[in-house]
Symmetry: C2
Subunit: 329 residues, 2 copies
């Protein structure tokens, strides 16, 4: 309640896949229509079987449309696998599982891209058709590709993540195209118009899901210079990621999987961090505003409660005067 009283403009949430989508759903449920803009990682996007796959966009879309598969964290619920079985019988690649219904979004996206539409237009069209009220923006319409240097060589993200199940040891992560990609124009307009009231960094993997978004210099500069408070929700609970390889990757890159490491990773970009009750002891050693609450999202109520908590936290922090770091524009 206090949230709505204090934040009246647009809430921008940066998110990747599963963890991000859960909070995105919470935000979508507690905010009135038209106030939420979700900026989704496209660094995981890839071409597979000739189709353009946008895993994080689809996870967020399906989650907000109530179509997601809660067991897998990807794809659609109640999915059938006739396509994969037939593909296997024809000798095609089957390491990346595409369900029969899920296929439609990849085929139609690929077709529309080839017909000249951009990813923003296509995603907006899908969201409308699926009854998703929140605005869902790909971080960019230009290609940015998350690349990984591992002990098994340089790997595109999905090969590391899906084909090799995160087994390779991570050495370095970079974002091909990030330097030159134009951030989503609709998002940049919001910042330019000073229409953003708060930015929430969802509890997605900071290294793999949020960093691709931050790899675009113009978007990073907009975040650094916006007066809107920026709060992150930590993906770690008691040195573990709820899902995915965040803790493993942090260890491999030489970081302790602690809240401190998350704060150091985001640096001056964030004004506050939401951490789990389990990490309460760390709260006073983090050197920025901290909100301690339950961050594990099991049910819908958890998602809504965490969304409210993050928004209230941002509202309490309030607008910043001046930029965040010296090189901000």
């Amino acid at each position: 309640m206090t949230t709505r009283a204090q934040l009246r403009g647009t809430i921008v949430a940066l998110c990747g896949g599963v963890g991000g989508a859960k909070l995105a759903l919470g935000l979508a449920r507690v905010l009135p229509p038209g106030r939420l803009v979700l900026v989704v990682n496209t660094g995981d996007d890839f071409e597979h079987l000739g189709l353009r796959i946008s895993p994080d966009i689809d996870t967020v879309l399906y989650t907000l449309a109530g179509l997601n598969n809660p067991e897998t964290g990807w794809g659609r619920r109640g999915e059938a696998w006739n396509f994969m079985a037939a593909m296997e019988s024809l000798g095609g690649e089957t390491w990346f599982r595409l369900g029969d219904a899920d296929l439609a979004i990849h085929v139609e996206r690929t077709r529309r891209l080839a017909a000249g539409e951009n990813l923003t237009q296509i995603t907006r069209g899908f969201a409308e058709r699926l009854g998703v009220a929140a605005e869902l923006l790909p971080m960019s319409d230009d290609p940015v590709r998350t690349m990984l240097e591992t002990d098994m060589g340089v790997l595109p993200f999905q090969h590391y993540f899906v084909r090799l199940r995160c087994a390779p040891k991570m050495r370095r992560i970079w974002f091909e195209g990030g330097e030159t990609a134009r951030p989503n124009p609709a998002l940049m307009r919001l910042f330019a118009d000073d229409a953003v009231d708060a930015v929430v960094v969802c509890p997605s993997n900071p290294f793999l899901s949020v960093d691709p978004i931050l790899s675009m210099p113009l978007l990073r500069a907009a975040l650094e210079s916006t007066p809107a408070p920026i709060v992150a929700v930590s993906p770690l609970i008691a040195r573990q990621a709820v899902k995915g390889p965040a803790a493993k990757i942090m260890a491999e890159l030489g970081f302790e999987p602690t809240q401190r490491a998350i704060v150091e990773h985001y640096g001056c970009l964030i004004d506050g961090l939401v951490i789990d009750d389990a990490d309460r002891d760390e709260a006073h050693r983090l050197g920025l505003a901290v909100e301690v609450t339950r961050t594990l999202m099991v049910g819908l109520d958890d998602r809504e409660a965490l969304a409210r908590r993050a928004l209230a936290f941002a509202a309490r922090i309030g607008p910043r005067v001046g930029g965040r770091v010296t090189h901000a524009r």
Copy 2:
């Protein structure tokens, strides 16, 4: 039995979709492996949803692999439709029905074409994976597109056939690219090596399914000059097509739907025609060798019996001395 005694080389069968596939299956079952080469119409091929669809190749492949849907005459048996339902919910095109398992062949074909393989290589790969022993050759690796001038304007084949369900009145049919397309090299080699013992024109629609094959001047010339007997199995029974718009189209183009019209259509190209018992009265007025038998293929036994009958008929006609028409090479 006599067939095998008399024809020892390769049997080439020209075929389109459903009717052609039925006889193709019969031929595949009565001929030893390695003796049958099926030349399949690709004039119906088109791009749809960004995928390359080859309807006749798939019908023949599925039929020979025992995967075909006998009710529809296209697609796979036991098919599910989750993809189409999801596509509809996203606002995509749904007039051309693609089943969940069927999709795999279109996606994989499209991918392999983009990767530089040609349709012949891809089709051979699929046939091997599906356990099809007969050689299945696309009529050409170059694009030939069946185009129709109708009372509803100029239509690509699938728009006429599927989207508009053959309702428009046919005025003219032509084959874009046919003049310049290179016929399948493996087929041309067989003719060049004089390895063809007989050619069977399957009971596919002469105007829509066989004519695209014959539209390629080099293939037509090879057929005109081969000494191998060429026999056609008529698609008409008592002035009706078993399936499809052959009789309707013939009427619209100003032909009576008779065996005589079929003979006149193929002209000097064929040495004999197989017609149904129902048309026995026409047999003696056709001016070429005629075989009268049951041409309706309901069961597997019908397919095999008709295949044996057509082969025995060709064997009886025997090789021709000299070319068929004056402009043959």
